[in-house]
């Protein structure tokens, strides 16, 4: 999440940006963008990394959208805003918060929320999302997405926080399902019921992190297909895919760690395939935040996601005709 240093300290000339990039889907151009550009396209996007700024503005790769971590862009000026401003004119944008601590026990950080509002006003992203987790407590920021118990008291608090976020930002947000390693004795609801109730009460959308589903279900002995079926899937506004690390718990059972540092696992690709078969193509993001690879590697992962979505588009078209 911390990416405030440029990749190289040497001075580099700013490249010119000329023509508009090609951002169309080969199979079904009509679905590339919503007609008014206010929603993310049902295509694959990648996380925007400073290491790739120059290459993106110079080569204008075919990518459905970019996603940034909001907190990295809450700075007065400099290269981050310079490049994001250029990239924003050519691509749809998703802003993904990682520090709002919606699951926190105390009130939301109002200064931070106002700063987010300013960032959204400046870049007018097609989507804003945050996590079902806590990361701050008593003004200390722990820089991790920490788990919450699923009980009525926590549910009420999270719903209040989501309401406040949506009121201050003046738009609906997407809430991301978590990757977790432990559970709480005081939980009285399932994770899916808890999320479903937040969506029902607040009207927020769902950022369906398919990697988190696979990681959490593995870590808690659940069936990911069933977990998926229990979520309010009509609220899905975006999908995340990422890589995880395999470890084991004290009994030798798999303990998967949501690391965002490698390719998407084959098991997660299968679950994504099943997800697209169930709910159709959606905006899908390749998340790779640590040990960031060359842009071409991210694009190859994004193309694989597009390939899966296009296959389902074809299948649906064939099914309609027969």
């Amino acid at each position: 999440m911390n990416e405030h240093q440029p990749a190289e300290p040497a001075r580099v000339q700013t490249p010119n940006i000329g023509a508009h990039p090609v951002v169309s889907s080969r199979l079904d151009p009509a679905t590339s963008f919503s007609s008014d550009g206010t929603e993310l396209p049902d295509r694959a996007g990648v996380g925007l990394k400073p290491e790739h700024f120059h290459e993106i503005v110079a080569t204008k790769p075919t990518i459905g959208f970019f996603e940034i971590h909001a907190e990295n862009y809450l700075v007065p000026g400099g290269a981050f805003h310079h490049f994001l401003t250029q990239i924003r004119t050519q691509y749809p944008l998703s802003i993904h918060g990682v520090g709002l601590s919606i699951g926190g026990e105390g009130p939301l950080d109002r200064v931070h929320l106002q700063a987010l509002r300013g960032l959204l006003d400046r870049y007018e992203p097609q989507s804003f999302s945050e996590h079902l987790a806590w990361s701050s407590h008593n003004d200390i920021f722990l820089n991790d997405l920490l788990p919450i118990p699923y009980d009525q008291r926590t549910l009420d608090r999270v719903c209040q926080h989501v309401d406040e976020v949506q009121n201050v930002l003046g738009r609906p947000m997407l809430l991301e399902n978590p990757a977790t390693y432990v559970a709480f004795a005081e939980s009285t609801l399932s994770e899916t019921a808890f999320i479903g109730e937040i969506v029902r009460r607040t009207g927020c959308g769902l950022l369906l992190d398919v990697n988190n589903i696979y990681v959490s279900c593995s870590n808690h002995g659940r069936d990911p297909i069933r977990y998926l079926s229990e979520l309010p899937l009509s609220a899905v506004g975006e999908i995340h895919l990422a890589g995880f690390n395999r470890e084991t718990d004290s009994l030798g059972a798999p303990l998967l760690i949501d690391s965002h540092a490698s390719r998407v696992d084959e098991a997660v690709w299968s679950l994504f395939d099943h997800t697209v078969a169930t709910i159709g193509p959606k905006p899908v993001l390749i998340e790779w935040d640590n040990d960031v690879p060359p842009l071409a590697t991210l694009i190859a992962e994004a193309q694989r996601a597009e390939g899966i979505m296009n296959r389902h588009r074809v299948n649906q078209a064939v099914a309609r005709q027969s």
């Binding site: 300290p9 907190e71 007065p76 310079h82 026990e105 931070h112 303990l255």
Partner: protein
């Protein structure tokens, strides 16, 4: 104590036991799984410090650096989710950290690395327009009383140690060698941003004193007179050429 009070204390202190109420689906050890969170917090915050202070890390070695950073993180956890600001107390922490006392230049070098990050993300400003310069230079009497405004990214650090040279030697592909460097040689570092990248210049004392005086809002005539009385052979032409080339002046106080 709330759940989050206990969790925060436990996440930042490996000596604390696993918080109560934490369960696992298969009866495996909750403490071992809880360690994943503690590890995430610790590693990500140490990495945040390492991102801002890469030369300090090279100078002390990764093992020493990460051990020092973890003690810092426990004493000064971040107060904001904007980690770009994190580590402001790190130079003072190093200065008071006895195992680092062998490298007396380390705190100033850490200050330089903080200044680098601050300059990188500082507000943008247009350099003063040519027409404004012409108007100013056409009236020399006005020039003596003028107060200049500078780029928000411009930072100046004066050190008893060769911090700018030490920094330069540790940049990738610098082609410079540590061998010829005397760390005990005092240096003035100007941290300058141009074309969205940050560079560090080593500058003479009189130039630096003049810049600091001007940045503090001293009228140009007074600041130059002070500089010339302290350094009679001061080259004001060279000073201004640098201000022009680097586009450091953004305007005048009206």
């Amino acid at each position: 104590m709330t759940i989050h009070d206990v969790w925060m204390q436990t996440l930042l202190d490996p000596g604390q036991p696993c918080p109560p109420g934490v369960t696992t689906w298969n009866g495996s050890d909750p403490a071992q799984r809880f360690t994943v969170y503690r590890n995430n917090v610790m590693v990500s915050l140490i990495n945040a410090i390492a991102d801002t202070f890469p030369v300090v890390e090279q100078l002390v070695g990764t093992d020493f650096f990460r051990a020092m950073a973890w003690i810092f993180v426990q004493a000064h956890p971040p107060r904001s989710p904007q980690l770009v600001h994190y580590g402001q107390e790190f130079p003072e922490f190093i200065a008071a950290f006895p195992p680092a006392a062998e490298l007396p230049y380390l705190p100033d070098l850490a200050r330089l690395e903080r200044a680098y990050v601050a300059a990188f993300h500082a507000a943008d400003a247009e350099p003063m327009a040519a027409a404004a310069w012409q108007a100013l230079l056409a009236t020399p009497e006005q020039l003596t009383t003028v107060q200049f405004r500078f780029q928000p990214s411009l930072r100046v650090l004066r050190s008893e140690y060769a911090i700018a040279s030490l920094w330069a030697v540790h940049q990738a592909d610098s082609g410079l060698s540590l061998g010829a460097l005397d760390p005990g040689c005092a240096e003035n570092a100007w941290v300058i941003r141009r074309d969205w990248c940050v560079g560090i210049l080593t500058m003479p004392g009189p130039d630096t004193s003049l810049l600091v005086a001007l940045q503090a809002g001293q009228p140009f005539g007074v600041a130059v007179a002070d500089t010339l009385s302290a350094a009679p052979d001061f080259d004001i032409g060279r000073f201004f050429e640098l201000l022009f080339v680097e586009q450091l002046i953004t305007g005048v106080v009206s």
